[in-house]
């Protein structure tokens, strides 16, 4: 391979003392530290980097930076890497994307044979009929042609992505001369600054400038890096600006993650991205060897790469003129310089794998392998659009400019106007000062309003007017398209001819045309294409550019990987104080909401039977627990529960159910009165947070005069249910100061005492299993001691732990319903069988009007106990109950299990009221389609409906 590396350039970024080995399509290459993938390959003589999306024409370097549409490559298992900006790393395996079988011999070129059928709107027009082929054929084939690389999600080696938050006073998007100057002056004014630059080094266009530019750049860099108040993020990009100056920054190549998303809350945002050089539209403008002036300047000056041998330059501005000088200094023969300002033009580039000749506007054919165009600039106003601005077109300067910005967003640098380096940095400094002043006023206000911050020592900074002298707008010819047609969108293979056709078909608004043709919708998101597309549409419609308008640029400014958006995945998990013990003793876990819980310890049926015959222990810590204190607790309970609470005595417990304001059952639990003004409320495990919020909401907004304090104590009290006929016997061995006899401690009572030497335990005589049982709430730091004491002291009583599955069996045998499982988002109190509990004559209860209305209805579903006639069949939960002989749905099974006590299947079900009478036979449709019969039971409880086992 021939070397295109030039002798040492004063501004080059490469370290020639290093050699980095890498492969390109399987072939070995060597580059230097500081090379991009593209520069290293170009230095080695590689000219073709990709193929066009639709016609698979060869593509070479166009812009030689991050926005180059022709330089998307696969690196290892990472797709869509921007080879124009990604720095070379030793050992990289780089390959071309979207080609088969190879970049050189790509069968996709066959598309050119049918090119005339692949016109604009091809997809919409071609794959309409027959409709059934869309899924079976069309979609599969089209996917084969989808651009982009491949993600191998099974063998991905990216590691973890990351996120972090930041709160700079000023964030500067763009590290060119104006951006750097703005950052410095903002920091000097006392602001904290985040300076974000998408290239790996600061400087913008100064980097490839002359000695004077390099001297200025060196000073700016030295100043920035010696200013502690400025955090510099290179190889990073601001991807979006959202409400209240919430700014997203994508930090690449961080040492702990391939990409990190920074969520910055910013006082002032300074938008200083510079300008993006736009291509020129003419026949053959995508042939390798056609480059923008900025590309050749970067290749020559930053990476010492000779971009060609014989060049034709079309120049409409100083960048083109400077490119001529750079080419000559690099030993490139400049065959012709065509001055677009004087009306000179290029109409066609010719060549197969590389430009071989150029036809000029006056008919000359020039032999050349490089055609350089410098025809104007696009202002990347995306961040300004996101702040609400609609930039306006200036015909004289031939580009768009900001129009109206909110106070907390400012623009500087090329996006705001033209100027020398001195003028740009001066404007940047003024902008930085203004931004800092506004941000510091905001910070002053925040400090004054934030309780944790001390009051500001100084007065609020005075507002200063925006007295910046605007940058000038230099005249520039409107150079968009030659007399021939060429590509407008390189990523999407959309030509000027396509756009004119779309306009002819009626898609004559820029927004409609964009969506119909997909112009500007590729990875570049319009950076190179938007203005040319608008110009072609203006031409087609015979109107001025200013009348065309622009498309709306939305986040992200640059594509963001899904990994960066996901960042570190935080999924909080709650563990009881006994969870380590469960896991060490063979528990199989279950994730119930955020709680990890023991589902069983090997044999849930045996665990359930042991509770019926001996005594079992279950960890029910997730049960919601709220400590209620104050003289108005009973009023609060009266308000939130459907039953009465004024007469609950100290030491007694009452069951309560809550409904929401629409009358739907929302939660339930028991509440015990521990002292005169002290209660402990329990809620469902999943409802604890919502109930707490609801109580606080009522107390803080609707009943602020009530004296009630609510404190959540769920995790602080480890809850152990001791259940089974021998539970009293077991507890008597460990409880010191509480009489556990049936008379002294009856069902639905609560006591405070010492258990296994642990004080301040709360002992409830309640249960969910239908057996004699006690629920012991233990201060969690001592819970393991109590749990192990219960086990060691009850070995002769047959004590054993049981898990959630055994508890579900036992509670279903007993017929206890679970809110959210046996009820749903429509279940009102009558459905849940709360007739005996609800007091409709109370003065107030949440949902009372709806409760009253519900009890007047006769059409609400009814929760019933149900037993399949075939006792061996356990219908899956949610199986439908249907009318025999039809598919009319009359209910559903809400809970089902095999009962070890009855040795048969048992269920709870919601049924139509016509089926609710005991003895009614219903039809249940199983998951496999079979239908079985089942009989409605007299009670919800299948075992001990009278409650004799638990009231001993």
């Amino acid at each position: 391979m021939s070397s295109h590396r030039l002798p040492i350039r004063s501004s080059e970024l490469i370290d020639r003392s290093t050699s980095l080995s890498f492969t390109w399509n399987g072939r070995a290459y060597v580059g230097h530290e500081g090379d991009t993938i593209a520069s290293a390959l170009a230095a080695a003589g590689v000219e073709v980097f990709s193929r066009g999306m639709k016609y698979h024409r060869r593509r070479g370097i166009l812009t030689a930076n991050h926005w180059d549409p022709n330089l998307s490559v696969q690196v290892g298992d990472e797709p869509n890497v921007r080879a124009g900006s990604r720095r070379l790393v030793d050992g990289m395996q780089v390959s071309a994307q979207n080609v088969w079988p190879s970049l050189r011999w790509d069968l996709g070129t066959a598309n050119r044979l049918v090119g005339r059928f692949l016109s604009v709107g091809f997809y919409y027009k071609t794959f309409m009929r027959p409709q059934f082929l869309w899924h079976n054929l069309y979609q599969r084939i089209l996917r084969k042609f989808a651009p982009g690389g491949r993600v191998n999600w099974k063998t991905g080696t990216h590691g973890e992505y990351d996120k972090r938050y930041a709160h700079p006073d000023v964030l500067v998007a763009g590290g060119g001369p104006a951006g750097v100057a703005a950052a410095l002056s903002a920091a000097e004014a006392g602001a904290s600054v985040m300076l974000v630059e998408q290239e790996p080094e600061l400087g913008g266009h100064l980097r490839w400038g002359g000695p004077d530019d390099l001297a200025v750049l060196a000073d700016l860099r030295q100043a920035v890096y010696s200013t502690p108040a400025i955090e510099v993020l290179c190889d990073s990009i601001v991807t979006g600006r959202y409400d209240h100056n919430w700014v997203a920054v994508l930090q690449r190549s961080h040492e702990v993650a391939p990409e990190r998303l920074i969520k910055a809350r910013v006082g002032s945002l300074i938008v200083a991205p510079g300008l993006v050089e736009r291509p020129y539209v003419f026949a053959g403008n995508d042939i390798p060897g056609v480059m923008l002036a900025g590309a050749v300047r970067r290749l020559i000056n930053l990476w010492a790469v000779k971009p060609g041998s014989r060049a034709v330059v079309l120049s409409a501005n100083s960048e083109g003129d400077a490119a001529v000088l750079d080419l000559e200094s690099a030993g490139v023969e400049v065959v012709a310089v065509l001055d677009a300002r004087a009306g000179e033009d290029v109409v066609e580039a010719r060549g197969r794998g590389r430009v071989s000749s150029v036809q000029t506007g006056d008919g000359r054919i020039l032999r050349a392998d490089l055609l350089v165009t410098a025809t104007g600039w696009t202002a990347p106003t995306s961040l300004l659009n996101m702040a609400g601005d609609r930039p306006v077109y200036d015909k004289v300067a031939a580009r768009y400019f900001p129009q109206a910005l909110p106070d907390n967003v400012l623009a500087t640098g090329g996006i705001a106007g033209d100027g020398s380096t001195t003028e740009l940095t001066a404007h940047g400094r003024e902008t930085g000062l203004l931004a800092a002043q506004r941000a510091l006023r905001l910070r002053h206000d925040r400090r004054a309003q934030t309780p944790r911050s001390p009051a500001p020592e100084s007065d609020r900074p005075a507002a200063i007017a925006d007295s910046r002298i605007p940058l000038r707008r230099s005249p520039h010819p409107e150079c968009y398209r030659s007399t021939t047609h060429g590509l407008v969108d390189y990523s999407e293979d959309v030509s000027s001819k396509d756009l004119i056709q779309a306009a002819g078909e009626g898609f004559d608004s820029i927004e409609l045309m964009k969506r119909y043709t997909t112009v500007t919708m590729g990875p570049g998101q319009g950076k190179l294409e938007t203005v040319n597309a608008a110009a072609v549409l203006a031409e087609a419609m015979a109107v001025e550019m200013a009348d065309i308008g622009t498309t709306v640029w939305r986040p992200p400014f640059s594509p963001v990987s899904l990994g960066a958006l996901a960042g570190r995945i935080f999924e909080p998990v709650r563990r009881s104080a006994l969870q380590d013990w469960h896991e060490a003793n063979g528990a199989t876990n279950l994730l119930a909401g955020q709680w990890v819980r023991p589902d069983h310890y090997g044999d849930p049926m045996a665990e359930a039977s042991n509770v019926r015959e001996n005594v079992g222990l279950i960890d029910v810590t997730p049960l919601g627990k709220l400590d209620l204190r104050g003289p108005d607790v009973a009023n609060l309970l009266d308000l939130v529960y459907v039953n009465r609470w004024q007469k609950l005595e100290v030491g007694r417990v009452r069951y309560g159910a809550m409904v929401a304001e629409d009358g739907v059952v929302s939660d339930d639990g028991v509440t015990g009165r521990l002292a005169e003004d002290h209660y402990l409320m329990t809620t469902t495990s999943s409802g604890a947070g919502a109930v707490w919020e609801m109580l606080e909401d009522w107390l803080q907004t609707y009943r602020p005069d009530w004296e009630v304090h609510v404190t959540p104590v769920t995790g602080g009290l480890t809850s152990i249910n001791v259940a089974g006929p021998r539970s009293r016997e077991l507890l008597e061995r460990l409880v010191d100061n509480v009489d556990l006899s049936a008379d002294a401690f009856p069902y639905f009572s609560v006591r405070t005492g010492i258990v296994a030497g642990v004080a301040d335990c709360i002992i409830w005589r309640i249960g969910f299993t239908g057996e004699l049982s006690y629920e012991v709430h233990v201060p969690s730091g001592h819970a393991l001691h109590v749990w192990e004491s219960l086990l060691s002291n009850g070995s002769d009583l047959g004590v054993a732990p049981f898990g959630i599955e055994a508890q579900r069996i036992l509670r279903l045998e007993k017929g206890h319903y679970i809110v959210g499982q046996d009820t749903d988002g429509l279940s009102k109190a009558p459905t849940a069988g709360l007739d005996g509990l609800v007091r409709l004559d109370k003065a107030d209860t949440i949902g009372l009007p709806e409760l009253r209305a519900a009890f007047e209805r006769t059409d609400l579903p009814v929760l019933v106990g149900l037993q399949p006639d075939d006792p061996t069949i356990v219908p899956d939960e949610a199986c439908q109950i249907v009318e025999a002989g039809s598919n009319q749905i009359l209910g559903r099974v809400t809970s089902s299990r095999m009962s070890p006590t009855l040795e048969r299947s048992i269920c709870l079900a919601q049924v139509d009221p016509s089926l609710a009478a005991a003895g009614t036979s219903v039809t249940v449709q199983l998951v496999d389609g079979r239908r079985i019969t089942a009989t409605v039971q007299e009670h919800h409880a299948h075992v001990d409906p009278e409650g004799a086992r638990q009231r001993v």
Partner: protein, 191 residues
């Protein structure tokens, strides 16, 4: 039950970076008492700390203004009885010992702001969150109370959460510390 060992929700011992830039320690065994009272009550007057700020009492207890009309008192292990007894109880006052209900960690060192910035969206600059500041926020998606409580000019934060989240949160903060030099044990994983 002073003879009984307090079992923390966190099994790990203290973690620290070799360079001393960051350290993370479980201090869940510290006494924590929640006081809710109106500012016009004797308890409110006695505590003398406004919402968002904290102060060290003569007996060593740290009084934190956690929320309007709510304080959290932090003290050495086993001080619950003394703390409860130290508070006037006239008027409508609730005092709840939440020692067992809250996990608490101390994060110290120069890199604490960097660590917390990975898991918490609060502005921790000195002027917004000076030493003594008390605030609440989401830390690795867990609702937490935080106190900036510097130790001899070493920046330090107390982070507390509902006890059951303790093991997860300690692992999540340790994970954030790994960027700053803490070698996180393999069993401390957030996934």
């Amino acid at each position: 039950m002073s003879e009984l060992e307090f079992v923390s929700p966190v099994a790990s011992g203290p973690l620290s970076a070799a360079g001393g830039g960051i350290s993370l320690e479980d201090v869940s065994d510290r006494t924590k008492v929640l006081v809710r009272a109106g500012r016009d009550t004797a308890a409110g007057t006695h505590l003398k700390v406004t919402y968002g700020r904290s102060r060290r009492r003569r007996d060593g207890a740290l009084i934190c203004g956690s929320r309007p009309d709510e304080w959290t008192l932090l003290a050495d292990p086993g001080q619950g009885t003394e703390l409860l007894a130290s508070l006037p109880d006239e008027g409508f006052v609730s005092v709840v010992d939440i020692t067992h209900g809250r996990a608490m960690f101390r994060l110290s060192g120069l890199d604490t702001v960097g660590v917390l910035a990975k898991v918490c969206n609060i502005d921790l600059t000195d002027d917004m969150t000076p030493d003594g500041a008390v605030f609440s926020g989401s830390v690795a998606k867990v609702t937490c109370d935080l106190v900036r409580n510097d130790l001899a000019d070493r920046r330090s934060y107390l982070v507390s959460c509902e006890r059951s989240f303790g093991a997860y949160l300690f692992a999540a903060i340790a994970d954030a510390c790994s960027e700053f030099g803490i070698d996180v044990p393999a069993d401390l994983t957030i996934h």
